[in-house]
Assembly symmetry: C2
């Protein structure tokens, strides 16, 4: 099944209407496959001059609330959004801004943290900052 159809069904499952604006936003996030700022998503939606930035924001917020999208904040990039698919983390190059998805090194750590603190754990987020091999050689 096409990825886009999977996402349309995710919306229906949550009783969120499948509007052409929502589809346009999800299409951009699917196609780019890296975390994007609201303004970047807006800029990448072509041929839809009536689709407003406020609609992009409203939908991103809705999707975040419904746990379909993850909202992140990277040093140097500000607030970005990505579709929530597998659980992974990010490695960001401080020179060129490249964002790499990496496997989460703390898959089983929440239980330990729960035992230590009594907190009921829901989620965690990790950012690694460094310089990529390409930028290092220049």
């Amino acid at each position: 099944m096409q990825k886009l159809l999977v996402w349309e069904n995710k919306l229906r499952d949550k009783n969120i209407r499948v509007t052409s604006q929502r589809i346009a936003i999800i299409e951009v996030l699917l196609k780019e496959a890296i975390p994007l700022a609201a303004g970047d998503i807006f800029a990448k939606i072509k041929n839809r001059p009536e689709l407003k930035l406020s609609t992009v924001y409203r939908n991103l917020n809705l999707l975040v609330d419904e746990r379909l999208v993850r909202k992140l904040n990277f040093k140097g990039k500000g607030t970005v959004f990505e579709l929530l698919e597998d659980h992974h983390q990010h490695l960001i190059c401080l020179e060129c801004g490249d964002v790499k998805s990496i496997q989460c090194p703390l898959q089983n750590y929440e239980e330990e943290l729960h035992n230590d603190t009594g907190y009921e754990l829901y989620d965690h987020n990790i950012e690694f900052y460094g310089v990529c091999p390409a930028c290092k050689n220049s």
Copy 2:
């Protein structure tokens, strides 16, 4: 030695002038000992009506650039700042907003990540989100 004097020396070491405004900001961060928003720091500076919010921002940015302060972004709290002392991470209660400092579970992981990706690692940041024991019982 008083903590504040240590911080004055850190400023001098970096050739940053020791102004009363800087001291006021650092005092608040020392006293509260949790990450604070710029506006919160500003609000907690008493008896200094001439000290402006823009000065707080300017100094926080300077201290971040000089790696004396860490700038963070917590779900539900927006941008916050803390003095950079030991390396630690945070556990945030999504109900009451309480922020707990915890030992970093990835002290030795950067080398592995370097070997896997070729990135030169500089820093990492982890946020854990959950519900604290007090909030769970209510």
